[in-house]
Every structure is written in structure tokens, then in C-alpha cells.
């Protein structure tokens, strides 16, 4: 089989010969090992490898894209891409694949790349041994995996860049069924370094489980709510969707034309950071080869920027640098990377004390059925706790739903962010806890 570099050059040559004025090849390969514990035992070990490439061409101003994992027939993929470019629209002028100095970086941490299957199994067993005895009928679980990846981008403007990266993730989970009452709780994170806190994730899951052993209900009405970092992240999904340049260009986002305006509470300052040191979604360059940079999305609630790939950047006349791909088979699309929310000033304990009589919301169910681009949502509280007079967790609140609009709840109703922050499950979100006043609870 031909080497990777040769594959890329051959594909570019064929695209040029087929009439492409511009062409780009994205090659990716990866390998992963993962272990999965469910219902108190190891369910299986999965070792997978993948490799393939995606070809994008610009023919007479029209874009075409095709991908393949059949690397002994790359010419078919190039021809398919040329074929699709006959049917698409003429792009706005200004779409130019970037040139630039070659980048060749290996950001994989040897300490992560060296994590073995036996070690992953050990983490999982630890979780099961700790969580299972906590209550009758607990089904303990865990997932741990480690992966390495290598990708290369070559384009007709002469850009050549490649990167190697390694990462791993761990999560602990506990499920408990009593009668027709079903409880799920979990915690975990992912990282490019050894710093995923396995013991911390297990202990947090244990704590959620213990706090859930007592259940109760909360009368409907408007109450203060403390959102955990995970719940805050799901509400901020509206903003994440809303600042993507494609939604702005299509005017389907309520944030269209609102740069420089205050769109959320002045307590919120948010950065989107693609640099490798910023989190799991980091890399030296984005998926079109633009060098990594940090962007401030929201500065004290004021909208500072949209996030764009090359295509939407040329349409809107803004900076590119936020192209992502979901693997080799995906054409680039604009979107956020590491999502970093600046902390507040008050400790979490103070937020909880101020929310006496209210609810801690840790997970929301049914958000995807909501009108999230608009900000409107109505969701069941998957895991939530009633807050006592001193800010203590009283019991798990069952059968509660919250509703409202994200731009209102995280706008005028946001009272405080905690000084503590926590990495999200994906290892690419760093968020504080948030106190929101007057949340409608049904």
C-alpha cells in the first residue's frame, strides 16, 4: 500500500487533472481501546482502528465532497467529489483554501498513549467495587477508553499539515431501580493528559447516589435553581448553536446581526479556545489547516464574534479558524471547540445558601425536542435535588420539569456564577455552577 503522503499527493493530482481549480484532502487514522462495565461487570473490550480520507474540490466555483475508507480506490473518491461539484451552487467569491508554512506536530502525551487495557480495566473495577455496596440494588458501571489519532491536511494552495494526538476518558455510573422509580447518576471527564480524576469521578457519582436515596417532590411554581456545570452546558447549547456562522448566514439564529450587543447576563464571559493546551478539543490547527487561536465569544454578556469555517467566513466577510469535521467522512462545518466559561466570585456554598427552597439541576432530559436555537425549552429534570434552608441537599426531586427561555434564564434571571469550575464529560468544557432566580418548575 502507498504511503499516506503519496496518497494525498495522488488525490490532489487527480483532482487537478479532473478540472478542480482548488482541492483539499483530509486524511485521518486512529486506534482506540475501550472497556465497558455495566450492571456490575465487564461487558467487553473493544479495540478498533480506522483510516480514510475526505476530498473537497472546487470546480468552476462549485464545491464537491466525497470520502472513502477504501484507500486502494482513492481515485473513485476524487471522481465522486468532482461529480458532486457539477450539481452544487456557485460559491461566493473569496473562497480560497489557505496556504501557509508546513505544520507537523505531535501533541500526544506519552503518558496517555501508554495507558494499557489492563489499566483501563482496573479503573472500571474500582468504580464497580466502590459504587455497588452503597445501597441495595445498585447497578454500577464505568467506561474507560484511550485513543490515538493522526491526521493530515494537504491542499492545492500548497498547505501541508499533520498532527498526532492521544486522549482518554473515564466515567463512573450508577443505576438504581426501586419499584417503578429509576435513578441514573454519573460523573467523569476526558483529557489529553493523565489528569482525569478517576477517584474524584467515582466519589462524585457515589455522592449523587447517596443524596438520591431519599426522594420527594417539589410544589410547582417559580423557584431559584442552581445549575451544575453539566446542566449549564446543556442550556448554553442554545448559544453554541446560535453563534455558528452557518446559522448566521442563513439567518436562522436569533443572534444574527447582534455583534456588539448584550445577549446574555454581564456575569457571563465565554471563550472558545482551539489551542491544544485549552482542552480535549484542542489542536495546533483547525480542520481546514488554520493555525489555532483563542476567541472570546461573550465578554460580560456582549456578543463578540461568530465561529466560522472558510466557506461561511467568505460568505460573511469574517475570520475563519473554526472548522470541525466528524472524522474523515465529514465535510468541514463551523462550530465551537473548547468552551471556557469564566468563573464568578462567590463560592458554590454561598450560591446554594441563596437558593434555599429551590432546586439543584444536574441533568435535563428532552432538551433536543425543544426549540433550542430560539432558546425556548421544556425539559424533565433527570437528576435534581431539593435545597434546604442552609443550602444542604435534602432529597432527590422526582417528576419535576423546568421550562423557559435560555436567553432569559441566563440573561436577566442569572444571579451568580460560582468561583469553582469543573471540566465537563467531554473534557472540552470548563464551567462554573450558576444560580438562576425564578425558574418555572412544573
Amino acid at each position: 500500500m502507498v504511503s499516506d503522503e503519496l496518497l494525498l499527493e495522488q488525490a490532489l493530482d487527480r483532482a487537478a487533472a479532473g478540472g478542480a481549480r482548488q482541492a483539499e484532502v483530509f486524511f485521518a487514522e486512529g486506534a482506540s481501546d475501550s472497556v465497558d462495565f455495566e450492571a456490575n461487570r465487564l461487558q467487553g473490550i473493544d479495540s478498533s482502528s480506522s483510516r480514510g480520507l475526505g476530498v473537497r474540490v472546487l470546480v468552476e466555483g462549485r464545491l464537491g465532497f466525497s470520502s472513502t475508507s477504501i484507500l486502494d480506490r482513492v481515485e473513485d473518491a476524487v471522481d465522486a467529489a468532482l461529480d458532486t461539484a457539477r450539481l452544487t451552487e456557485v460559491e461566493k467569491p473569496g473562497f480560497d483554501l489557505p496556504a501557509g508554512e508546513p505544520i507537523e506536530e505531535d501533541i500526544s502525551d506519552p503518558a496517555v498513549a501508554g495507558i494499557g487495557v489492563d489499566e483501563l480495566m482496573e479503573f472500571g473495577r474500582k468504580a464497580v467495587d466502590r459504587l455497588r455496596p452503597l445501597a441495595d440494588g445498585v447497578l454500577a458501571g464505568a467506561g474507560a477508553s484511550r485513543w490515538t489519532s493522526h491526521w493530515e491536511i494537504a491542499n492545492s494552495a500548497g498547505l501541508r499539515c499533520s498532527c498526532r494526538k492521544a486522549g482518554w476518558q473515564f466515567h463512573a455510573a450508577a443505576q438504581r431501580v426501586e419499584g417503578t422509580s429509576i435513578l441514573w447518576c454519573y460523573d467523569g471527564s476526558a483529557s489529553m493528559h493523565r489528569d482525569v480524576d478517576v477517584d474524584g469521578a467515582i466519589e462524585t457519582t457515589a455522592q449523587k447516589l447517596r443524596q438520591s436515596l431519599k426522594e420527594g417532590v417539589l410544589a410547582a411554581g417559580r423557584r431559584p435553581v442552581v445549575l451544575t456545570p453539566a446542566a449549564l452546558s446543556s442550556l448554553l447549547g442554545s448559544l453554541r448553536m446560535g453563534i455558528g456562522a452557518r446559522a448566521i448566514y442563513r439567518k436562522t439564529s436569533p443572534l444574527t446581526g447582534r455583534l456588539g450587543e448584550r445577549v446574555l447576563s454581564e456575569l457571563l464571559t465565554i471563550h472558545d479556545d482551539i489551542r491544544p493546551e485549552a482542552g480535549m478539543a484542542g489542536a495546533p490547527f483547525d480542520d481546514e489547516g488554520i493555525p489555532a487561536a483563542r476567541l472570546t465569544v461573550l465578554s460580560a454578556g456582549v456578543l463578540e464574534t461568530y465561529l466560522a469555517d472558510l466557506r461561511n467566513a467568505s460568505r460573511l466577510g469574517i475570520q475563519p479558524g473554526r472548522a470541525s469535521r466528524a472524522g474523515y467522512a465529514s465535510a468541514p462545518f463551523p462550530g465551537s471547540r473548547n468552551w471556557i466559561v469564566e468563573p464568578g466570585e462567590a463560592p458554590l456554598a454561598e450560591l446554594l445558601a441563596q437558593a434555599a427552597g429551590g432546586l439543584v439541576v444536574d441533568s435535563l432530559m428532552g432538551m433536543h425536542g425543544s426549540n433550542l436555537v430560539n432558546g425556548d425549552f421544556s425539559a424533565n429534570v433527570g437528576l435534581g435535588f431539593a435545597i434546604g434552608p442552609g443550602g444542604e441537599m435534602l432529597y432527590r426531586v422526582k417528576d419535576a420539569a423546568i421550562a423557559g427561555n435560555v436567553y432569559e434564564l441566563l440573561g436577566p434571571r442569572l444571579r451568580a456564577l460560582s468561583s469553582e469550575r469543573k471540566w465537563g464529560y467531554s473534557g472540552s468544557e470548563l464551567m462554573p455552577w450558576a444560580l438562576v432566580e425564578g425558574v418555572p418548575i412544573a
Partner: protein, 463 residues
């Protein structure tokens, strides 16, 4: 070297045979697929992608524990089979015992008629463009549109150490039309989606649907939200199907049930879960449905499995592993979205069976209620469900009246099953474009359907 050819399953069988003494059970799959997807946004064909895939996987059972490998390089197949056996050994023993299944040698090809009807890519694009332009030309308050089409044709070869050798062809086609109204700081969408496993021409997708989507979107844009609270609700077949899938289908997946003693008690055979008239089943036999299946990924024939009959639990969905663990029969529900994943227990087409009420009887006598139509997705944690209706009408004096928007239905699954007051005598299975997600595998093509249902005490979310 192994390469894709029509009789590849016989080569895979030979590989499996070589590993027979190193494993209790070993299966090898190779999949080759070609897919196309495109989407219009506004007037523009925003994306048009083609994809070719070839890959394989090996699943090995050693001392009751699984090892699994997946890969793109078929020249590494023997190595990867060896690795799967090693991973299974490393797991150090487990409780897995497969229920017996007779070896099958078969070939399931797509009918020539289905292929002959298939339009060219240029024709597909042209057809969607026409429908998309219809939406854009509707006028205020519709401001923009999306039209989406995707198809995937796969050839899958399976060989097992027990002698199964099957070659299957599969087709999955989906399309959706979305109208969006925007203005006054608000955005409102309405969509229609459809799908098929047999007919790439998607006859359901036509001008009439495009106009209906626009009319309903325009209506929703001006419609109020309902007041939050508990309602007497009539759900349409699409929403009934989503309920069958989300609330009962997932609870009937035996991998959840057999590992969980409490859930096993709730879902014990004979347990009374719903009203006596309630019947729910899952089947691979609905021709053309996205859940239609001849053999599952373990080579087990996929027939009809009754889940609830007479309001009582009568069966569940099995893989060979879960059937072995529970001493029941495999049902042909072991599915995987691609060669990158091991098969797990999944649904096919999940249906609420017919009752005895006419449509008029379902609505009769409702003074104040809500008629919920279509689905925008749902989620459940087993006990609680949340579904979004695409749209809803207030029912007054037995008649659907004012249109309302942003309707979210929540409730406790078990209470709701006992609160069903009427089941229509006619079942409708309408394909939709989404899919099911589970354990990181999604979207898996599935189908669902049912009759109109009247249910009391359903909580409608909102302020």
C-alpha cells in the same frame, strides 16, 4: 488477501473455522457501503456528500467474555480475529452463554424492482429542489427552508464459527422537508420526514406534503402556547409510535432487563402494565419499513415479537446473549449501525396494536383536551418520558379546534399506560427520517406506528 466479492461469506466462514478451537464462538463481518446525502438551505444546495466505506469487525467469545475489533484494512482480518480472541481472554472470564441458534446459509438481495426505480443523483437533487422552492415560494411568514435527502446501500457478509454464512443487501433512504418562519424575534419550524428500506424514490414525498408543512408552520408561527398543566390528550399514530418505541420498546430490551433485578420484576412476564386492550409488538416483517429486517447481525431471523398483550408483559427483545442469560429464545434483535460496533439489542418496527374504538369514539365526549400530532423527538429514562409534539389542537366538545405550539408531553410511563382510555381500531405505520440512538450507536433505522390513543392526566410543560 480478502477482498469484497459476492461469495465473500464463504471466505469468512473459512477464517472462523480456523479460530474454532481458540474461542467458544467467533463471528466475522465485512461491510461495503455507498452513501449519498444532500441538503438545501434556503435556495442553495448547501451540502452534497458521497461516501464509500469498506470495513470489517470480529467478535470473539472466550470463557464467557467478549472481545471485539473493527478495522478498515481487510488484509489485517486474521490479525484482528486473533486480537479479538486475545482481548476476550484478557477480560478473564465472564457469564456470557449464547442461546442456541441454528446455523443459516442464505443470501438476501435487494429486489431488482427497487433498484430499477431508483432515480439518478441529478434527478433526486432536482426533485428536492422543486419541493424546496415550493416552500420558499409560499410567502409570509415562511422565511426559509431546509430539504434533506440521504440514502445508504450496504452489502454485509457474515460468517460464524457455528457455520452461519449470510450475504445481505440493505437499503436505507430518508428525506425531510422543513419550513421555517421567522420574525418578531421568534423562529418556528415545521417538518415532514419519511423513509424506506425498499424504495429509493420515496413516493410519500410530494408537493402536497410541502404545502401542508408550510400551512402548518404558518399556523404555528401565530399560535399560542398551551397553558401548562394536566390534560386529557389524544395522540396521533406518529406520536403513539414514538411512545411505543421510547417508553415500552426500550424497557423491553432484554439487555436492560436481565442485568437489573428490579426492572426484571417490573417487566416480569405476566406483569400487568397497561389497560387490558393494550397490545404492543416489535417486528422485522413490515415490508419497506426502515425497521424491516430479514436476519439480524447474529444471523437470527427477525420475525414478530409480542411485547404486551392484554395489557400484560408477554415477551421482550433479545440477542443470543440476553436470550441465553434469561433462558428465552433469541428474537432477531441484535443489531449494529455499522461494522464499527458490536451488535446490541435494538428495536426494528415497534407498533401499538389496534383497539376497538372508531376515530370519532376516541374524540367523543372530550370537553377540554389536547390533540397532539407528530413528533419532534422524545427521551425517556425508563420511568419518566418527555416527548415533543410537532403541533397540537385544543379539543373542545369533542372537536379539535385552536392550534397551539411548543407542546411537550411528560409523564410517568407506568401511570400513563394505565391511563389509556381509548385505542383506535386502525393502525398507521408512517416512516420517519430520524433513527434510534443507544450506547453510542445511532442513528439506527427503525420504524414505529400505532392507532390514535386517548390518555388522561398527561402533563403538558410550559410556564
Amino acid at each position: 488477501m480478502i477482498s469484497a466479492h459476492p461469495d465473500l461469506e464463504q471466505d469468512l466462514l473459512a477464517v472462523c473455522t480456523r479460530f474454532r478451537d481458540r474461542s467458544q464462538y467467533l463471528e466475522v463481518r465485512v461491510e461495503e457501503s455507498a452513501s449519498t446525502d444532500f441538503a438545501f438551505q434556503g435556495h442553495d444546495l448547501e451540502t452534497l456528500n458521497r461516501r464509500q466505506e469498506r470495513g470489517g469487525d470480529v467478535r470473539a467469545l472466550v470463557d464467557g467474555a467478549w472481545g471485539f475489533t473493527s478495522f478498515n484494512r481487510l488484509d489485517q482480518l486474521e490479525e484482528m480475529a486473533s486480537a479479538a480472541v486475545d482481548q476476550a481472554k484478557l477480560a478473564g472470564g465472564g457469564p456470557v452463554k449464547l442461546a442456541p441458534a441454528a446455523p443459516v446459509q442464505d443470501r438476501v438481495l435487494l429486489p431488482d424492482a427497487a433498484l430499477a426505480r431508483e432515480p439518478t443523483l441529478a434527478q433526486k437533487v432536482a426533485r428536492l429542489r422543486t419541493l424546496n422552492e415550493l416552500i420558499l415560494g409560499f410567502g409570509a411568514p415562511i422565511t426559509t427552508s431546509t430539504a434533506y435527502y440521504a440514502d445508504r446501500r450496504a452489502r454485509i457478509w457474515l460468517g460464524t464459527s457455528e457455520g452461519t454464512a449470510i450475504h445481505q443487501e440493505r437499503l436505507d433512504v430518508t428525506a425531510a422537508l422543513v419550513a421555517t418562519a421567522a420574525g418578531e424575534g421568534r423562529v418556528q419550524s415545521r417538518s415532514f420526514s419519511t423513509g424506506s428500506s425498499a424504495d429509493a424514490s420515496l413516493p410519500e414525498l410530494d408537493e402536497r406534503q410541502a404545502v401542508t408543512v408550510c400551512r402548518e408552520c404558518a399556523g404555528l408561527f401565530r399560535a399560542p402556547k398551551p397553558k401548562a398543566g394536566d390534560y386529557l390528550v389524544v395522540v396521533d399514530p406518529r406520536l403513539a409510535g414514538v411512545f411505543a418505541h421510547e417508553a415500552i420498546g426500550h424497557l423491553s430490551e432484554a439487555d436492560h432487563v436481565h442485568e437489573n433485578p428490579q426492572l426484571r420484576q417490573v417487566m416480569t412476564l405476566g406483569a400487568e402494565l397497561g389497560v387490558p386492550e393494550l397490545e404492543i409488538y416489535d417486528t422485522g416483517l413490515v415490508a419497506g419499513s426502515r425497521g424491516a429486517l430479514r436476519y439480524d447481525e447474529e444471523g437470527v431471523a427477525a420475525g414478530r415479537t409480542d411485547l404486551i398483550k392484554g395489557g400484560r408483559v408477554v415477551g421482550r427483545l433479545h440477542s443470543r446473549e440476553t436470550a441465553g442469560a434469561m433462558g428465552e429464545l433469541p428474537t432477531g434483535n441484535a443489531r449494529a449501525i455499522s461494522y464499527r460496533y458490536p451488535p446490541i439489542v435494538r428495536m426494528r418496527t415497534t407498533v401499538i396494536g389496534p383497539g376497538s374504538a372508531t376515530r370519532a369514539e376516541v374524540f367523543r365526549g372530550i370537553d377540554r383536551g389536547l390533540y397532539c400530532v407528530g413528533s419532534m423527538g422524545g427521551q425517556t429514562n425508563g420511568e419518566m418520558f418527555t416527548f415533543s409534539a410537532a403541533l397540537a389542537y385544543l379539543i373542545e366538545n369533542g372537536e379539535p379546534g385552536e392550534l397551539v405550539r411548543d407542546v411537550t408531553l411528560t409523564g410517568n410511563t407506568f401511570t400513563t399506560l394505565k391511563n389509556i382510555e381509548a385505542i383506535e381500531d386502525t393502525v398507521l405505520i408512517e416512516e420517519s427520517g430520524g433513527g434510534c440512538g443507544k450506547a453510542g450507536q445511532g442513528p439506527l433505522p427503525v420504524g414505529d406506528g400505532g392507532p390514535h390513543l386517548r390518555v388522561r392526566g398527561v402533563r403538558i410543560g410550559g410556564e
